[in-house]
Structures are given as C-alpha cells and as structure tokens.
Symmetry: C2
Subunit: 230 residues, 2 copies
C-alpha cells in the first residue's frame, strides 16, 4: 500500500509517519520507484504499536525507538509445532529464555537518560536490596529497576515519609502475584504471534491500566471506610 493508505488506515498523518521513519521507529517502505515506496500490513501493525507506546503509554519517542530496536533484532516467534499456547511449563525451552532476555533488555531501554542522571542514595539502595533478599528474588545485580525504586523511596523520604523494606513487603508480595498473572497471560499467547512483542504489550501497556485499577480500588475502599452519611 502507499503511504496515504497507511496514513488513513492508522489515523496517523503522513508527516508524522515520515517523522517516525526518520527517527527509526518505523522501517522505511520498500522503494519501488524514486518517488514511491510500498508498505505492508507489518508496517501498519508496527505503526499502531508505536502509537500505543507514544500516545497511550506516553513514552518519549526516543525511548520508544530503543524499545522497538530491541524487539526488531529478535525473532521470537511462538512455535506452531502442535502445542498450542496453553502449555504452562517450560516446553518452549530456548524460546522462553529468549523472551526473558528480551524483557530484561526492554526494561533497560525504558528508563530514560533523565532517570539515570540522578543517583539514588546509598540508604535507599540498601533498603531495596534488603527487600529483594527478603522476597527471595533473584535479580540481575545491575538491573535498572533497583536504583529506580531507591530513588522513589528517596523522594518520599525527603518529604518526611519514611518507607522501609518492612513497609514495602506487603506491596512486594502483591507485585509478585501480579507478575504471576502477567506470566500466565503471556503463556496463553496465541501461536504464531511474536512472543517478545506480546510480552512488551502486556507489561508496558498494562502499566497505566493497573494504576487505574488501584485508583478505583482506593476510591471504593476510601468510601467504604468512611461511610457516606447521606
């Protein structure tokens, strides 16, 4: 299809599509003449993914480019070898490992330069490591998540809200069960789909949804604890 059709079917303007191609978010079309290139369904799919990351999740364009670059260089197709997507054990073997490694790299790509430039306090880092130990989590020692969490604790500490690893423990337990639901959902991915992309969708795009669920639950419980006198 031509760029105008790609534009109309995705709802993204031609100028913006060209911008995304320049920034490496979208591969260029297959050039068919000096003034024409051909785009296929993969381009459309990819473009929708870009819009989900940029417009819905609110990732900076450069960060989205990093995330997509990680996805692009890994062809982790879900096997079509007779086993459907509902098997939950490690039958997929090497492919599953691939997804795990891709997810790690995606998370690494997702913390922006802005996040990295501010260092976490030593006290915060200690508290986070203590939590990881208490939960028995096996975490890559250079995982970007550790200083990110430490910085969040630092910010609260600055405002007089001291949160130690014991306070964080119930949250961590709930996060652990959330992650289990995540992986169950991922294990049920349809055959033939890109496992790594599916993983990114479920983790990155579900983030805002989970926060909203917390809001809703807070609203309910807050009302329940302080019953409306009316």
């Amino acid at each position: 299809m031509r760029i105008s059709e790609l534009s109309s079917r995705s709802g993204v303007s031609i100028a913006t599509i060209k911008y995304y191609i320049r920034e490496g978010l979208l591969p260029a079309g297959r050039p068919v003449a000096a003034n024409q290139a051909d785009y296929d369904e993969d381009h459309l799919r990819r473009l929708r993914l870009v819009r989900a990351l940029v417009a819905e999740r609110g990732l900076p364009v450069s960060t989205a480019a990093d995330v997509l670059a990680v996805l692009a260089e890994t062809g982790t197709q879900n096997g079509t070898d007779g086993t459907d997507g509902t098997d939950e054990d490690g039958a997929a073997g090497g492919e599953g490992r691939g997804v795990h490694r891709v997810l790690g790299r995606v998370f690494g790509a997702m913390d922006t330069a802005r996040d990295r430039e501010r260092a976490a306090s030593e006290a915060g880092l200690t508290e986070v490591r203590r939590l990881v130990t208490a939960m028995g989590w096996r975490i890559h020692p250079r995982s970007a998540a550790v200083p990110a969490l430490a910085r969040a604790l630092d910010a609260l500490d600055q405002l007089g809200v001291r949160i130690d690893c014991r306070t964080l423990l119930p949250y961590a337990r709930l996060a652990e069960r959330t992650a289990e639901v995540d992986l169950d959902l991922l294990a049920a991915a349809p055959a033939g789909s890109d496992l790594a992309e599916h993983a990114v969708l479920l983790t990155v795009l579900l983030d805002p949804a989970l926060l909203v669920l917390r809001r809703l639950a807070q609203e309910h419980h807050s009302a329940a604890r302080q019953p409306d006198p009316t």
Copy 2:
C-alpha cells in the same frame, strides 16, 4: 529566609523558583519591602513536594499546579486530640470524609487535558463497568478512572490483545488488596501532618515504585520459570 537560601536548601535555582511562583505551584513570599520577600519552612516543604511531583513522578507542571491547588484549599490536619495515628476505625469522622473527597478531586486533577480529549470505545466502557460490578466496587459514576481504563483496553485491543473483564479480575483483586495496604499506611500517618497531602504522597509518588516492584517480580519469575541453563 530569603530566596537565595530557599534555593540553596532545596537545590532548585532561583529562576526556577520564580517560575513556579508565576505558575501558581508555590505561593509568593511575604513581601517585606519592594525588593524583598520572606520565605519560611512551609515554602521549603512545598517546594520539595513540587519537585517530587514534577521531577520524580514526571507530572506536567500545569497538572501539578492543579493537584496542589486542590491540596491548598483544604486544611485537613490530622487531629492531635490524644488518639495517635494508629487507630484504624473511623474515629476521625468528618476529617476522614474530607480526605476521601480530596483524593477524588486530586485524581480528577491528575488526568490531563490530553487524556480527556480521546474518547473511549463503548465496548471498553462496558467491559470496565462489568468489572466494577463484579468486584462490587462503589465508584462515582463520573470518575475519570473509568474511561482511562477503557482507553488502555482499547489500545491493547487495537494490537490484537483482547482483555475482557474476566481476564482483568485477578488484577482487580490484587489492586483491591494494594489499596487496603495504602489505606492502612495512611491511617498510620503521624499526628499533626496534613492528611490530604500524605494521601497524595502515598498514592501519587508510590505509583512508579509499585510499577518497579512489578518489574522486579517479573524479572524474578521469568527467570524462575525458564531456569538458567548455566
């Protein structure tokens, strides 16, 4: 104190402080002469709160201004009437109601104009309402959280990931328990502190921390399910 001291003690440049005052994020100092104003510890505290919302949480300055405006017009001091902060029932009465209303308004202020402009699909809204009913949640019908969640589901749907209310149910149950932890933490707020501000800190600033916890748990479980062959 003078503005230079406010600047050095907060680590925020004088020019930026003036900018925040212009934008209504920070009240102006008490003018003591034509070229001098006086700032106190409250200003410093408020400035640190602003930085936490803007730099740490990443809220747009205009949104942070809305949130702070809601906080400013409500003086919900935690009572110093002999009961310390560890009581968990509704002994606080009207004050608790106040916090509940403030939290609702803060959440309303937090979804930006950008969020509101895109409408959610009818199918997504139906799914969310079904979830709320299934959980037995009592939610304000015009709560901004409902269309926000619906839009997140729409985005996933566009990419071939259909998430219905049954899939969302386990997440909702975990969100409910997370909210319980939130409110327990809030009930333990120290006497004399601003309850509404405390509530905002615990919900808004804890958001990124909870997402990071999910990342850590995913990393652990992903590794555990696909054992490292080395």
